[in-house]
């Protein structure tokens, strides 16, 4: 399935076992990082049930969560398209799609800031659900910010023409990290916005 397996095969043929092995080691390293980060998110997500049971504040804006999810899913498609473009040597397309991904990321950040603003007014941050909500969205947002910085770095390198169809490892790494950010949100969204029964959790 892997789109980059095209290069996987080509590298082995063109540059021999060592170049292929090097690419492989980088990919395995990236995946180890992603898996370790996933465990961190799993621990935080499971803590929701210990800290706040299945209660959800009745003032939580579920539509906002849906909108944030839609934005991140769209950004995953644009990240995918940028990687496809890079793997085919289409540098302009890769730059364009990575820029679109960054814009989606910034819109998502704006949405999270709005969600926090509303949340501060709607339920106490010190409550069980408030603790879970701000911790989970806060940690995820740091990943979004670091993802945007990574994508911006890759965009800068792509603008200098440093990537080609045979060498776009940085592109692949940044795109995979961004997909992971999306993947984490796929679980965070229902855990925070959908699961359980809504109960009154007023600030006062």
């Amino acid at each position: 399935m892997a789109m980059t397996d095209l290069i996987h095969a080509d590298l082995h043929e063109k540059y021999g076992t060592k170049a292929y092995s090097s690419l492989m080691m980088h990919r395995l390293g990236l995946w180890l990082f992603i898996i370790s980060d996933a465990f961190f998110f799993m621990a935080l997500i499971s803590s929701r049930y210990f800290v706040a049971s299945t209660d959800r504040p009745d003032t939580l804006i579920q539509e906002l969560g849906l909108l944030l999810t839609a934005i991140l899913l769209l950004s995953s498609l644009s990240a995918y398209r940028s990687e496809v473009a890079a793997s085919h040597g289409d540098n302009e397309g890769a730059k364009r799609w990575i820029l679109i991904t960054i814009i989606f990321g910034l819109i998502f950040l704006g949405g999270v800031v709005f969600a926090w603003y509303e949340a501060f007014h709607d339920f106490p941050p010190a409550s069980g659900f408030g603790t879970t909500f701000f911790t989970l969205t806060g940690i995820h947002t740091t990943h979004v910010v670091s993802g945007i910085i990574l994508l911006a770095f890759v965009y800068r390198r792509a603008a200098k023409g440093e990537y080609g169809p045979d060498h776009y490892r940085g592109f692949e790494g940044a795109a995979k990290y961004w997909h992971f950010v999306d993947l984490a949100w796929v679980f965070i969204y229902p855990i925070l916005y959908l699961v359980g029964e809504s109960v009154e959790m007023g600030v006062h």
Binding site: D5, A9, S21, M24, L28, A70, Y80, H179
Partner: protein, 86 residues
């Protein structure tokens, strides 16, 4: 060495697949939203959990190409690749 059943695909084919994956993810997301409204208790939890896992698998498989890792490990085991440091 690992083989790729999609090797030689055009950019358009890959982009089309990406779009189809996005549409499926969007449909599941909307379904989740209504499942949370219409159902409650264990059924709601099962539906939401199942949908989230399906979406995660879709992203990991089609966007993150997780099969590469298994291919690479298989390559190392088969001796088609070296463990290198650079």
């Amino acid at each position: 060495m690992a083989t790729d059943s999609h090797a030689g695909e055009t950019k358009e084919t890959k982009n089309k697949r990406g779009l189809i994956v996005l549409i499926v993810l969007a449909v599941l997301t909307v379904a989740e939203f209504f499942a949370a409204i219409w159902f409650e208790g264990a059924l709601q939890l099962t539906l939401l959990g199942g949908s989230a896992i399906l979406k995660a698998l879709g992203i990991a498989h089609y966007f993150m190409h997780w099969r590469q890792v298994l291919d690479h490990i298989a390559d190392i085991a088969a001796g088609d690749a070296e463990v290198v440091e650079d």
